[in-house]
Symmetry: C2
Subunit: 196 residues, 2 copies
DNA sequence: TACATTTGTAAGCGTTTACTCACTTACTAA
DNA sequence: TTAGTAAGTGAGTAAACGCTTACAAATGTA
C-alpha cells in the first residue's frame, strides 16, 4: 500500500484529469476512471478533494497561475512589441500543447459548464489573455511601429482563434505538426495585419 | 396523444438536440432531457432513432448538407474572390449563430468523441471548409488580386480560428454582439493579410 | 514501545444513464 | 366495419455516475 502526502496526490490527480480529457474526452472524466488512471481507489480521490468539481476548480486555479501570471512577465519585459507578441504567442501555444486538456476545458466548459464558479474562472482566463494582448498591440501602435487605424479589439478576437483552433490542427496534421513552425506561420500573418 | 409522422419527429428531435447543447451543454444531452424537450416519452425517441449516437450522426449529416453543400455554391458563383471570401465568411457565421450547438459539436466532439464514426464526419466537415476556402484564396492569387507570397495553408488555419472562437465571443460580448459587425471586422483583418 | 494522525481500501449508497418492452392509441385502407 | 400498421406510453432494465463510510495500514511523535 503506497502512501504519498496529499500535495503529491493532488498534483497526480490533476495531471490525470488533463490526461483523460485530452486522450479520452471530457465525457470519460469519471471518478472511477480518474482513480484508475492515478492507480488508487475512488475513496482515495475523495481523501484529497471534497468533490469532482473541486478538482477542476483547483486545476483551473493552476492554469491561471502557470499561464496568465507567467504571461504577465512578458508584458512587463523590456523588449520590442513585435518580439513581445511573438513570445506571447509561442509561450501560450507551447503551454497548451503540453497541457492539451486545458484548451478543451477553456473552450468547451467556458461556454456552458454546469458549474458557474468554474465557468467564471475560465472566462476570466480568456479575458485576461485578451487584455494582455491588447496592451501589447496598443504599445506597438503608440510606439509608431504598427498601424494606428487598426481595430485593436477585432485583432485580439482574431488572435484568440489561434489557440481555439489549435487542437483541431493537431488532429488534422497529426504526425507532421510542428510547434515552432506553427507559431512562425501564425506570427507572420499577424504581422501582415499590424504593419502600416 | 398527438401523433406525428417519423420525418417530422426526427426533425423535432434533432432541433431539440441543438437546443439542449447550446443552452445547457453537451453533458445535459440525456435521452430523458431530450424527450422532455420534444414533449414525448423516452420510448418515442427510440421509435424514431435506434440510438442516441444515431441521432447525432443524422444531425451531422444535415450539417454537411446545409453548410458544406450550400457553401460550395459560393465557390462556383461568378463573383470576385474578395466578395466570395466575404460571402463565405458571412454565410458560415450566420449558420453557426443560428445553430449554436453545431459549433460545440464540431469543435468539442471532433477532438475527442468516443464514437469514431461521428468524429470522422465532423473532421470531414472541417476539412471540406478548409479546402473550399483554399480554392477562394488561390483564385484570388491567380487573378493577381492577392499576394502570391502568401502562405495559403497558414491563412486557412488562421481563418478557421474565427468560427472556433465565435461561441466564446458570443458570451464575452453578450448583449452587444452584432453578427454583421463581427463579419465586417474579421473580413477587414483578413483583407489586410491578403493584400499585396 | 505506545498512540495519534494521515493515507488508502472495499463495499455500498442513492441517482442517473442509455435503452427495452409489453401494451395502448390513432390513423389508413380494404 | 374491421383489420393492419405506425406512433406513443410508462414501467422497467443493467450499468455507470458521484460520493460515503467503516475499517485497515502506514507514518510521525512521545
Amino acid at each position: 500500500m503506497l502512501r504519498l502526502n496529499t500535495e503529491t496526490r493532488k498534483v497526480q490527480i490533476k495531471k490525470a484529469v488533463l490526461d483523460i480529457i485530452s486522450n479520452e474526452g471530457l465525457s470519460k472524466l469519471s471518478t472511477k476512471n480518474l482513480a484508475a488512471k492515478v492507480g488508487v481507489s475512488e475513496g482515495t480521490i475523495y481523501r484529497h478533494f471534497n468533490s469532482k468539481k473541486e478538482i477542476l476548480l483547483s486545476l483551473v486555479e493552476d492554469v491561471y497561475t502557470n499561464l496568465v501570471v507567467n504571461q504577465k512577465t512578458i508584458i512587463k519585459s523590456d523588449i520590442t512589441p513585435s518580439i513581445k507578441l511573438f513570445t506571447f504567442l509561442c509561450k501560450q501555444i507551447k503551454y497548451l500543447i503540453n497541457n492539451k486538456g486545458v484548451t478543451i476545458l477553456l473552450l468547451s466548459e467556458a461556454t456552458h459548464a454546469n458549474d458557474s464558479d468554474l465557468k467564471e474562472k475560465l472566462l476570466e482566463i480568456l479575458k485576461a489573455h485578451k487584455e494582455m494582448l491588447k496592451l501589447i498591440v496598443e504599445d506597438g501602435i503608440n510606439k509608431g511601429m504598427w498601424d494606428e487605424n487598426l481595430d485593436c479589439d477585432a485583432f485580439v478576437t482574431l488572435y484568440m482563434g489561434i489557440p481555439a483552433i489549435l487542437n483541431i490542427e493537431l488532429i488534422l496534421n497529426k504526425g507532421t505538426f510542428n510547434h515552432e513552425n506553427f507559431c512562425n506561420k501564425m506570427f507572420t500573418l499577424l504581422e501582415r495585419i499590424l504593419k502600416m
